[in-house]
């Protein structure tokens, strides 16, 4: 348990450091950086490398945005196994939906509740 927290902290932190380097050294905007991360996550899962990574780092691998790409691929592959090529299309959001729907729902609730503070 302690090890889980430790590695979640370290791996999660290191992924963020990579992001910071992309910000500061390569002068990428946050949008560019995050898009790159998502694509990297998708590719890593394509090679089957992201799952072991999650097993190891737990939330350190599932909380960074890279896991978004991973779970998109995962959903697509799961469905593809059952329904063939068309599953690639239909399964895409099967696993990720919670992140996106949570963002949409809480985004709207936030807009109802809050004003920008400046």
């Amino acid at each position: 348990m302690v090890a889980s927290f430790f590695w979640a902290f370290v791996i999660g932190g290191l992924i963020c450091v990579i992001g910071q380097i992309m910000f500061d050294v390569f002068h990428l905007t946050p949008a560019h950086t995050l898009s790159t991360f998502v694509v990297i996550g998708a590719i890593l899962d394509g090679f089957g490398l992201y799952e072991p990574f999650i097993d190891f780092a737990g939330a350190g691998a599932t909380i960074p945005i890279t896991s978004f790409g991973n779970s998109l691929v995962h959903g697509a592959l799961q469905e593809a196994e059952k329904h063939g090529l068309i599953g690639v299309l239909t399964g895409m959001f099967e696993v990720t939906s919670s992140g996106i729907s949570a963002a949409i729902i809480f985004g709207f609730i936030g807009a109802l509740l809050f004003k920008p503070k400046g």
Partner: protein, 159 residues
């Protein structure tokens, strides 16, 4: 984007570029990285804690706890964004608060809050994914390509 990559047309421009770079306050890369590590690590540890919470008190396994964890993190992100704290954390933490899924939530929620003055349909609805849209686009498209290639290889390539 990056100044370094752009070709500066004239000699004056190149000279000025050198002069300006010399005077420019350097980004404190090492300090920023340390802060990003700290903030990112803390956010992921909170994620881990929430995941254990869902596993311990609800019927979620390590695998299935991921979804409610992400949703909870985005909920927390909404609170912090709404109370005007998240942008301050971000100024300190940089990528440490942008890379975790809370940063994705913050991008959606901040845009939604910002544009409520233009109404809920055109303002909130139209602008919600102003910043986060690219993440969804490139995530979805790259996942499509990756999954397509992999499926084809498995089905017909005999891998």
């Amino acid at each position: 984007m990056a100044n370094e990559q752009r070709k500066l047309q004239t000699k004056i421009m190149q000279e000025y570029y050198q002069l300006e770079k010399k005077n420019e306050t350097k980004r404190p890369v090492v300090q920023n990285c340390l802060r990003a590590f700290l903030v990112g690590g803390i956010i992921c540890s909170i994620g881990q804690a929430i995941q254990f919470f869902y596993m311990y008190f609800f019927h979620f396994t390590q695998q299935t706890a991921g979804n409610p964890t992400v949703a909870t993190m985005i909920f927390l992100s909404m609170l912090l964004t709404g109370f005007g704290v998240y942008d301050r954390i971000a100024q300190f933490g940089g990528a440490g608060s942008a890379v975790p899924v809370t940063g994705f939530g913050n991008a959606v929620i901040s845009a939604a809050i910002e544009h409520r003055t233009e109404g809920f349909v055109l303002g909130v609805g139209g602008n919600m994914f102003k910043l986060a849209g690219s993440v969804i686009l490139f995530g979805t498209f790259s996942a499509f390509v990756v999954a397509l290639i992999k499926t084809i290889l498995i089905k017909w390539g005999g891998f």
